[in-house]
């Protein structure tokens, strides 16, 4: 009888085949993925990606949320893989596309980083390590724990303090930076976020509350942040009031809903 041919166990299922196809640019050693949602960021993305490459060996995925300025080309020139939304779907949806990608490709940790250079890439390995070591399921970078770097103006801080207070009361833990998008998420978390439970509108404090209610361990770590160049941050402009209203509604809805069951629970 002929010996059974050696088969790669990963190729047994369709998902495994997809994982092979999506497998990282840096080879199978890549356990982590840095997820960079970007919309019309061709100007700044390049410097963010080259700075990131100096501090992290993780694969990089840019999710181009329907840009018209060649964001994807910049990303590819810098060695990142780029997924392209056919049209603008919003920041939260771009994050979720990244989660879906990471889940298919079989990464163990996703670190999300803003494309406008707000997040200092030095902290990517720090946040990822907390998750990879199994200490926590989600590690959120807080700009208020380090005592250095950019602290936003008072009016914007007021909103952060309000949502930080609400999130702290709900989760029973001190949350200093509820609007931070600088986060490392474990595989269990981003698999959970693939479904419609993920708040794709503005994933901020409501996302932290959702994580807590679903029983994930969340922790804050100090990071440094910079002012968004050109002031084109998600939370600036004429939108703060609307944002506060929407966020309060979103938190309320998250609290009123039954926390959806986790796939692994």
């Amino acid at each position: 009888m002929a010996p059974e041919p050696m088969t790669d166990p990963r190729s047994a299922s369709p998902t495994a085949a997809a994982a092979t196809a999506l497998r990282p640019i840096l080879g199978p050693a890549g356990r982590g993925l840095v997820l960079v949602p970007a919309f019309d960021e061709a100007e700044r993305l390049g410097s963010v990606l080259s700075e990131l490459a100096r501090h992290s060996a993780f694969d990089v995925l840019v999710v181009d949320d329907g840009s018209s300025d060649g964001t994807c080309e910049v990303a590819r020139r810098h060695g990142a893989r780029c997924l392209r939304h056919p049209f603008n779907l919003g920041y939260g949806a771009a994050l979720q596309t990244g989660y879906k990608y990471a889940a298919r490709a079989g990464y163990e940790v996703v670190v999300q980083l803003d494309a406008d250079g707000q997040h200092d890439p030095r902290f990517v390995p720090v946040l990822a390590e907390r998750v990879l070591s199994g200490a926590v399921d989600a590690c959120v970078g807080s700009r208020f724990l380090l005592g250095e770097g950019y602290i936003p103006p008072r009016l914007r801080r007021a909103g952060m303090i309000l949502f930080g207070y609400i999130a702290s009361v709900v989760t029973g833990r001190r949350i200093t930076d509820p609007t931070s998008g600088y986060q490392a998420l474990s595989r269990r978390v981003f698999e959970y976020f693939q479904s419609d439970v993920f708040p794709t509108d503005y994933p901020d404090a409501d996302m932290l509350i959702l994580l807590h209610r679903a029983g994930f361990r969340v922790e804050e770590r100090p990071v440094a942040m910079r002012p968004a160049p050109g002031g084109r941050s998600m939370h600036s402009g004429l939108r703060p009031l609307f944002y506060v209203f929407k966020m309060l509604l979103s938190i309320l809805v998250t609290l009123l809903r039954e926390p959806p069951p986790r796939a692994d629970a």
Binding site: D8, S11, A17, A18, T20, A21, L22, R23, G27, V63, R81, L83, R84, H85, P86, F87, L89, G90, A93, Q96, T97, K100, Y101, R104, D196, T200
Partner: protein, 127 residues
């Protein structure tokens, strides 16, 4: 209610129902959206055939002086319900479009990855 008024309402209700049927027949309006509008047209038709004394009685029971106010109020509520139903549909469609867009982006990446020449320690041959 004067006869001219009643004729107007009956005519309107018939015309509305006819237009809806025609839209469904020409597939310009999906059946799943038509039933609410048909219900609306049928409602208007029913009201237009009610004897005026009944309408007065209904108005009085609802604490209104004139039956016209009641008709306006009921019509207003019906429109709000239809709008609400549209919002629910829109939310679902938004979610579906989002998922489609994401799926498209992921499939494109998969296609590009499998058509690209494998690097030296690339994926093993399948099968």
């Amino acid at each position: 209610m004067p006869l001219s008024q009643r004729a107007l309402v009956v005519g309107f209700a018939f015309a509305l129902t006819l237009v809806i049927f025609e839209l469904v027949r020409k597939r310009r309006l999906r059946e799943e959206y038509s039933w609410l509008w048909l219900l609306f047209g049928a409602g208007v038709l029913c009201v237009s055939f009610l004897p005026f004394s009944w309408m007065k009685a209904i108005a009085r029971a609802l604490g209104s002086e004139t039956p016209t106010a009641v008709i306006y109020f009921v019509g207003f509520i019906a429109l709000i319900l239809i709008c609400l139903q549209f919002s629910v549909r829109l939310s679902r469609i938004t979610e579906q479009i989002k998922n489609l867009g994401q799926q498209l982006a992921l499939l494109e990446a998969e296609r590009d990855a499998s058509s690209a020449p494998p690097d030296e320690d690339g994926p093993e041959p399948q099968g």
